[in-house]
Amino acid sequence: MSLAPYRQPIRRDRVFRLLQSEPDFSGTRDGVILYVDDVSVSFDGFKALDHLSLAVDEGELRCIIGPNGAGKTTMMDVITGKTRPDSGAVYFGRDIDLLSLDEYQIARGGIGRKFQKPTVFEALTVLENIELSLASDKGTWKTLFARVDTAQARRIDEVLVTIGMQDLRHRAAGALSHGQKQWLEIGMLLMQNPRVLLVDEPVAGMTGNETERTAELLVSLAGDHTVIVVEHDMAFVRSIARRVTVLHQGTVLAEGSMNQIQADPRVVEVYLGEEE
């Protein structure tokens, strides 16, 4: 265990927590919405992330690729507050330090996450899944007496149309196909009105047709939202990517357009070589 946090009880570059008001999630600094700065994470000696640095611009559609164990999912865990890194910093928007926030604060602040394995609430209907993800007051008492108002109902319908499930709204989510669950989870993210969507393997288990529609959806979301996609499917990445980051052994190996990446001999060696 690292003792570093205890050696420095008061950081001079930070205001006391209790003096801070609610974090302000709006805005960006120089157009960069998410900035991962020199983050390292290790599990029992295995370096999952090794001095990883990454900057994502607002409205960008970024693809992150890399072989298994490259640290893609760990990176998402760090950004969403699930894993605390050993060192480094993650900034969001103008000056939010994500590492000081809990998962629910990060989620409410505008970072939505889709899991690698599609995770929906299987015992609930599609509609209830979407409703639960509604951006609203999520305190216990408010939720106990919550009702869906007209504006919210409209938003729910909108998202159901976007993900093409308006006719399946009363279907139990557990009865959906794998691809439909992926879409439902993306719909749930949209309900949160996130500024950043972290999408882990969105087309795993999808048919060709579904993959195509997913690509269209993600491309259409970029611009209004910042979309970060982790994917193994190279054809899919090629079809949507404008900018690609290659992770390898917990750090950034290369970054650039798909063509630049494909021409990079190091990338070919560790990753693309295996695929093709």
Binding site: K82, F115, L132, F145, A172
Partner: protein
């Protein structure tokens, strides 16, 4: 609107509630109005027995709310039931007054026996019924609040949570066994005389306690039903099935668990408070871990995650227990074991699972 949501959208629950109401009407009549020589006469023994079952049903409801919906398995709900029972027992003990064996105007018999000079501070106020009732809810609620806050904040869940709840109830049992605790040690509190000025043994009092228990079960059921049909209830199901997903949807999972755990503890406390005057005793045996496990098994047998299944289970298992311990006292534990093996193997959704179709898209 609310009627539809709480009742008619769930015919099984409404049916069980109807049976309860019928029982609340029929039992007092059969006991108080029907003459003792009639075949329809119901003795006071049965009134007290059914009243006891009702308090068990309320305890089962409390467990089903957290286990069936939020996935929190508590093997220590007897702690809250027992504490509620002790609060009521303290009131009843204070009510004995100078009718005790030693005839002391203030101190209960066991305190005179242990040569107490004066009443311990934590016994103050328990001569008032409203105070005792308040404590029967507050003490379990506060214990659940502190215990749950520590557990849920550290994300203790699943079997680990179940084990520490066992430790909790076991610790309480050991503590209450000690005479120095001031709760009557292993004898507990008993020899009650009056409740609210009425003799506890009287027929009318028993019927009143029976009715109070029945009303508590009905209100408890409706409150639980309100919770599980609200968005809050759907968050609980979400937590049960995909805790991480719920967290990343912006919910503070620990707050939700804590809220429902405290509510459940309060329900269990009320059940305990109603139980004690009907059985006439409360002792540390209520805190024995096996009792808490048994209560979870009522829910498992009845059918987890339906609320009314908990009521059915509490009546079915305790009914069987009463019959067996009279007819074949040697075999009850074997029968209990067999019951649970059979239910686990053949009825994973409990008794009500036999009648209940898979939930369709109600909203």
């Amino acid at each position: 609107m609310l009627t539809r949501r709480l009742l008619t959208s769930d015919w099984g629950g409404t049916f069980v509630l109807g049976l309860l109401v019928a029982m609340l009407i029929a039992v007092p009549i059969a006991n108080l109005v029907v003459p003792p020589d009639s075949p329809y006469y119901l003795s006071s023994y049965w009134v007290a027995l059914l009243g006891k079952f009702l308090t068990f049903a309320l305890l089962a409801l409390a467990i089903d709310l957290i286990w069936g919906y939020a996935g929190i398995l508590s093997l220590g709900h007897g702690a809250f039931f027992g504490l509620g029972g002790y609060a009521m027992g303290m009131y009843l003990t204070r009510q004995i007054g100078d009718q005790g064996v030693y005839g002391h105007p203030v101190l209960p018999d066991f305190m005179v026996f242990l040569s107490y000079e004066e009443l311990p501070w934590f016994w103050l106020g328990f001569d008032m019924f409203w105070f005792a009732l308040l404590m029967a809810m507050l003490v379990p609620g506060l214990l659940a609040l502190v215990f749950g806050w520590l557990a849920f904040r550290s994300r203790v869940s699943g079997v680990y949570f179940a084990i520490i709840t066992q430790a909790l109830v076991f610790a309480l049992m050991l503590a209450f066994f000690r005479n120095e605790m001031g709760f009557g040690g292993n004898n507990g509190l008993t020899d009650f005389k009056d409740i609210l000025g009425f003799p506890v043994q009287a027929r009318e009092t028993r019927v009143a306690l029976f009715l109070a228990s029945g009303i508590a079960v009905i209100l408890g059921y409706l409150a639980c039903r309100y919770i599980v049909t609200s968005r809050f209830g759907r968050v609980l199901i979400a937590v049960r099935d995909a805790e991480d997903r719920t967290r990343f949807s912006g919910y503070r999972v620990d707050h939700y668990k804590l809220w429902v755990f405290v509510f459940s503890a309060v329900l269990a406390g009320i059940a305990g408070a109603l139980y004690v005057p009907q059985v006439g005793i409360i002792n540390p045996g209520e805190f024995s871990p096996i009792r808490s496990i048994e209560a979870v098994l009522w829910v498992a047998v009845g059918g987890r995650g339906s609320l009314f299944g908990a009521i059915v289970g509490a009546f079915a298992v305790n009914g069987a227990k009463t019959w067996f311990t009279v007819a074949y006292p040697m075999f009850w534990l074997f029968a209990l074991g067999a019951l649970f093996v059979l239910v686990t193997l053949f009825l994973p959704r409990g008794i009500v699972g036999l009648f209940r179709r898979r939930r369709e898209g109600e909203s």
